[in-house]
Symmetry: C2
Subunit: 217 residues, 2 copies
């Protein structure tokens, strides 16, 4: 079941709600949560919480709230996270290597995280054939084959900017429809392929806007 | 000069426009750009480009377009990037170390990037007093002192989730008003402090939503 016309702004908040519910489920004390409380913890207004969730069904009861474990399971299903998803990373430089370790640690600490990094890719013949924390590094021309073999669904790109579009094209050709791009470049992708940008420079540049004017003495 | 009531959705797109203009200025061939072309390159609709820029003044001429170097300079001023800004990073683990190298490389390749990483902070006594690529690592209790001494304006947080709020509180107490948070946790901050999340897990979870249903045979 897919809900085709739901705005990405809504989808973007679902993982925030899921994180709150995951934390509550881990603590184990809370069986019910109000939209008010869920909103505060997720950093979203309570009316918006109710509106977002209503797109997908009737999950709560007026005056009672949402059942934590039920809503958590439903959100997992909606986000395709009720199954383990195989993820690849292309570009094993210092950022790629660090993200690999970070991701594996996250996954080890929280098996319900569901996103499992299974393969790395690089063009450097010295890296190909080695592993990082047990994850194999393949050559870029093995991409299509490994996407098939390992059932890879999502990919992260951590190659230099001038290589990123080429890598994205290869990923898309191999059937990947969700890409998280760390390279500081806007990627072109056909309809049906979702590209998210994790361009850290852009975020910092945005933050710079909010720096208060310095008093000039 | 600040424009207080402009939506963050607008501010978020300005660095995208700036990047296009930076690339064009680097090539040096293009003196004028239409909103159409700027939009395509930035991945934003042309009407939205015109609307976004109109918030800050009259930068283009109907039927002629925008002068690349002029608009670039104006966007730098709006984003406070017409000066070099000192940035700190707290948490020199594998992700923090990789981001430090990544950021320095970016800054070295493009001096107009303006965001200069000048100080690292950690609690590990073995790391304090050492450097990464020449950037000193200070103890966390030197934060306030160094923010003053080095004129630090923005900070990145790459500490574990359970430490992130404490670090954010210290940064805010030291006068930092822009924080880019990599820890997978929602940070509380007073009005006037901008916190951007670079939570990579959330982005991947969002992308998972778009994975097409597998055919069940």
């Amino acid at each position: 079941m897919r809900w085709n016309k739901i705005s990405d702004a809504v989808i973007r908040r679902l993982p925030l709600y899921l994180r709150v519910l995951d934390d509550l489920a881990e603590d184990g004390d809370t069986e019910l949560i109000s939209s008010q409380e869920l909103g505060v913890k997720a950093g979203v207004g309570p009316a918006l919480v109710r509106k977002d969730l209503a797109w997908f069904g009737e999950f709560g009861k007026q005056g009672v709230g949402y059942e934590v474990s039920f809503l958590r399971d439903e959100l997992r299903k909606i986000l395709n996270l009720d199954q383990e998803l195989a993820v690849a990373l292309v570009g094993v430089g210092s950022l790629g290597g660090a993200l690999t370790r970070y991701h594996l640690k996250r996954f080890a600490e929280d098996p319900s995280f569901s996103l499992n990094l299974v393969a790395l890719f690089d063009t450097d013949p010295k890296k190909v054939g080695t592993t990082i924390e047990g994850i194999p590094i393949f050559a870029l021309d093995q991409l299509e084959e490994q996407v098939q073999a390992l059932g890879i669904k999502l990919a992260m790109i951590t190659v230099p900017a001038d290589q990123a579009q080429k890598v994205a094209d290869l990923l898309i050709k191999a059937g990947i429809q969700g890409i998280l791009n760390f390279a500081p470049v806007k990627l072109q992708a056909p309809t049906g392929v979702q590209v998210a940008s994790a361009d850290l420079s852009l975020e910092l540049q945005r933050l710079a806007y909010y720096i208060p004017a310095t008093n000039e003495n």
